[in-house]
């Protein structure tokens, strides 16, 4: 059976088409979800894509969090639905308190787009089971407000509980605390990542094919190998 993965479009979403393409290339059906429609149409997982929802007014993700679809996504996420927030999606997940911490202005104050090396820190989430521990991957990063901050206790907790999903290596592009690029919630079904796996899914247009791993992982998870059992 083909898995159905929802990709939400908010006003100002930009990488929604790319996320849908990545889902298709990984072998699933991409289901487009609209911010104003609270119905998830029975999807097996949800991707909150990159972009500038609501023009990033106030704080990135601050307004998107209140979109009708987000209430349903939040409930479903608490119930175990796999959710991946990429860039703006990560910001929305933090604003919605589905993930701890916050994403703030890059330390150097510029938008930065480059190909970025990451080290996978956790393979026990719904979205990273197909990677190997400590695997180094290369995917694009592009953001103006990608600097992850949280209080020391939260940072310690994330590290101790193995919830840092990926760290920047060979250079931190935005000043993120402890080089954090991606984190997960306690259950491991909700992942927020600042760089863009959906831009590394084709040899022709990306720096690598490493991004496919995230989408292949969730299909594997959904196919009956729950993240917790590995």
């Amino acid at each position: 059976m083909t898995m159905r993965i929802g990709v939400v479009t908010f006003p100002g979403s930009l990488d929604d088409g790319d996320a849908a393409r990545a889902v298709r290339l990984a072998g699933a059906e991409a289901v487009r979800l609209w911010h104003g429609d609270a119905d998830l149409h029975g999807v097996d997982a949800v991707v909150l894509p990159g972009g500038f929802s609501y023009g990033d007014a106030l704080r990135c993700g601050a307004i998107a969090r209140f979109a009708p679809v987000m209430e349903t996504v939040a409930d479903a996420a608490r119930g175990g639905l796999p959710v991946l927030g990429i860039c703006n999606g990560f910001q929305i997940l933090c604003e919605a308190h589905l993930l701890p911490g916050a994403l703030t202005r890059n330390q150097h104050l510029h938008f930065r787009n480059r190909d970025q090396h990451l080290r996978i820190g956790s393979t026990s989430t719904a979205w990273t089971g197909q990677f190997t521990a400590d695997q180094e991957i290369l995917i694009p990063v592009k953001n103006g407000e990608g600097c992850f901050v949280a209080d020391a206790r939260t940072l310690d907790e994330l590290a101790a509980e193995g919830r840092v999903v990926a760290r920047y290596v060979r250079g931190n592009p935005n000043g993120s605390q402890r080089d954090i690029a991606a984190i997960t919630n306690e259950a491991g079904n909700v992942v927020g990542i600042m760089p863009h796996p959906e831009h590394a899914v084709e040899a022709l247009t990306g720096p690598s094919l490493d991004g496919l791993g995230f989408f292949a992982s969730v299909l594997h998870t959904l196919a009956g190998a729950p993240a917790s059992s590995r």
């Binding site: 930009l14 990033d56 007014a57 510029h110 787009n113 592009k142 022709l204 247009t205």
Partner: protein
């Protein structure tokens, strides 16, 4: 951003507050367009056609608005009376250099006369942007435009709205914008003002383009002291459309509804086009401050999505973007193109500031707006689509018949039942003044040309050679540009096959077939200063080569001609030579110029910038998988690859 259909449906609208000079916030004696409203003061009504008839001898500030005495006389002849304040503002905008091409028209004709036989062009010069067919089903449209003066006054907003403006041109053709490029010129890299202008411009392009979700696939950063007081910010955009979705600007179909879509209208940018772009940029920038336009890329993104949805649903009979000259330009051009008349109720225009006068509403350059022509039966569907995307949509007028005997119709604009405009739209849009300005070769050209590079000392020892090489790689014009390019998103949309540091950008257009395009923009002001004819050809040749080496077949050209004041015969000579060179070059290479932009008055005081024709070439790749990147791939075997030098 709620839609406002009730305004559209309702004929009875509460009258806005009366025009109020002091509320304009500019203070003191009104200048520019505010000055035209002086006439209205004390009467409690705007200057109307009726009043213009009864007070033929009122003095009007035409010179302040950049209209010459004889131009003003012609307006009086056309109308058979003095213009109203609003009409005067409209003529001053439409007859400005920027909108009328009055100094360049006679030269630009060559692009049409020398156009090679070409079957790919679906729309050419005169349209918002040229359209090139790339397969049976698909076409692309592309154009480069300048936003030089606004970017000097307010680098961030100037550059940002430059991107916004060119993207709306592309959108107006029926295309989805899919990428941008940005050829830039600044003063000396170590000049303190460059430290203000460059980061602001780059942040503005990045802020707007990234937020629209358009990959940046190339551009230029050039430093030269001649651009110190007048940087060049050119922006290029390209879009894709199914051939049958091509849109037109004609306001055809009597009884059709005129709909204003997008942002509300405010006081920003009033008179920007004529005031900023059509005069020498010498005195205090502060005086021009009210002309600054502020962009909202989020609104533009919503505008793009709603327009594309409207096109696909077949709901649009005609469309025009609101660019530099705001409603004035959009209303007159759509009506003039169809030969119809138009009736507009100005009080229906949704305003950010209720106290705006009719003249201000007509002259405002508020960003992120489009003008649609819609059949009455489609109006509700159009308003519903706008509401879905959260943009304002308001019916502000209707298309009226042409005059008896097949004469074009008239554009009649009222404001709370006062007739403030009654003009033949063609007189504004098409029949502006045309000048064959005097040309004279610059006096210093012979000396400049005599000063050969061969006279420069050459490095003669290994140490000198080393030193020269280091100086070159560290030179601002040759060094790594990633401080700039890293601020641009080049990945969004997932179809960028080549971008920086390649010489040309390559985009995949059709994911099924691999069909794609290559684009390069190039210019060299120093060459053009030495010889504008050859300099323009060189720019063309460079862009052409950059496209060819990716494996693409060049198909079309766009250009942005950045020059000094056309009133200087030496500048005008440079311009005529450059146009001749570009037209000849295109004829020789067998590709057409499909559109572009002329930017005059790029100078500080009497000193003009180097003549800077910037040329963009578009090529077609049947399969982008076969593109040739510029770096050497790691050799497959120990022997390595062979290198060949082609040409002589």
């Amino acid at each position: 951003m709620t839609t406002q259909p009730e305004t559209a449906a309702d004929d009875v609208v509460a009258p806005p507050a009366m025009p109020n000079q002091s509320a304009s916030g500019f203070g003191g004696k009104p200048t520019g367009f505010a000055a035209t409203d002086v006439l209205a003061e004390g009467f409690g009504t705007p200057d109307t056609v009726e009043r213009a008839r009864s007070t033929p001898d009122d003095l009007q500030p035409h010179a302040e608005l950049g209209l010459k005495d004889d131009e003003y006389e012609r307006i009086r002849q056309i109308l058979g009376r003095r213009p109203t304040a609003a009409e005067l503002a409209m003529y001053s905008i439409m007859w400005s250099e920027h909108c009328s091409y009055k100094s360049s028209k006679v030269h630009l004709r060559q692009f049409g006369e020398k156009v090679p036989q070409n079957t790919r062009m679906l729309a050419g010069i005169g349209e918002n942007a040229g359209v090139v067919q790339i397969s049976d089903e698909l076409a692309v449209t592309f154009k480069v435009e300048s936003h030089n003066h606004p970017s000097f006054v307010e680098p961030y907003q100037g550059a940002a709205t430059g991107v916004g403006g060119i993207v709306r041109d592309i959108l107006a053709m029926g295309a989805r914008p899919v990428a941008v490029m940005d050829p830039l010129r600044f003063g000396a890299a170590d000049h303190p003002d460059t430290a203000r202008v460059l980061p602001g411009v780059v942040a503005g392009i990045s802020g707007y383009g990234n937020c629209l979700g358009l990959p940046n696939i190339g551009g230029e950063v050039v430093f030269d002291p001649c651009y110190q007081g007048n940087p060049l910010v050119n922006a290029l955009s390209i879009g894709v459309l199914p051939v049958q979705r091509l849109q037109h600007k004609e306001a055809a179909g009597v009884g059709n509804v005129v709909v204003l879509l997008g942002a509300r209208t405010g006081r920003d940018g009033i008179g920007g086009v004529s005031v900023l772009a059509s005069a020498t940029f010498d005195d205090a920038a502060g005086q021009r401050r009210p002309s600054v336009q502020v962009g909202d890329p989020f609104m533009e993104k919503l505008l793009i999505e709603s327009c594309l949805e409207l096109y696909d649903a077949g709901l649009v009979a005609g469309i025009q973007d609101l660019g530099g000259a705001g409603l004035t330009c959009a209303l007159t051009e759509t009506a003039a193109a169809a030969g119809t008349g138009m009736r507009v109720w100005l009080e229906r225009v949704p305003l950010r500031e209720p106290s705006m006068s009719p003249t201000e509403i007509l002259a405002s350059e508020s960003q992120e707006r489009m003008l649609l022509i819609v059949t009455p039966e489609n109006l509700d569907a159009v308003l519903a689509t706008a509401e879905k995307w959260g943009v304002w949509a308001t019916a502000i007028g209707e298309v009226t018949p042409s005059e008896a005997g097949g004469q074009p119709g008239r554009l009649v604009i009222t404001w709370n039942d006062h007739v403030v405009v009654d003009v033949p739209p063609g007189s504004l849009a098409d029949d502006g003044p045309v000048y064959a300005r005097p040309l004279r070769e610059p006096g210093d050209l012979i000396l400049l040309q005599a000063d050969h590079a061969e006279t420069l000392p050459r490095p003669s020892t290994p140490d000198e050679l080393r030193e020269t090489l280091l100086r070159m790689v560290g030179a601002p014009n040759l060094c790594d540009k990633s401080w700039v390019t890293e601020q641009y998103d080049r990945y969004v949309l997932g179809n960028t096959v080549l971008a920086q540091p390649e010489d040309a950008g390559v985009l995949r257009i059709d994911e099924r077939t691999g069909l794609g395009v290559a684009l390069s923009v190039d210019g060299n002001g120093r060459y053009a200063r030495l010889d504008p004819y050859e300099g323009a050809k060189l720019a063309l040749a460079e862009a052409y080569r950059n496209v060819v080496v990716t494996g693409a077949e060049p198909a079309a050209v766009t250009d942005c001609l950045n020059f000094g004041s056309p009133e200087d015969p030496a500048v005008m000579w440079q311009f005529s030579e450059a146009v001749r060179g570009l037209a000849d070059g295109c004829q020789q290479l067998g590709i057409p110029v499909t559109g572009g932009n002329v930017s005059f008055y790029n100078q500080t005081g009497a000193a003009a910038i180097h003549p800077t024709p910037v040329v963009g070439v578009l090529g077609i790749l049947e399969d982008v998988a076969r593109r040739v990147p510029m770096g050497f791939p790691a050799p497959a075997d120990a022997d390595g690859d062979l290198l060949f030098l082609l040409g002589d």
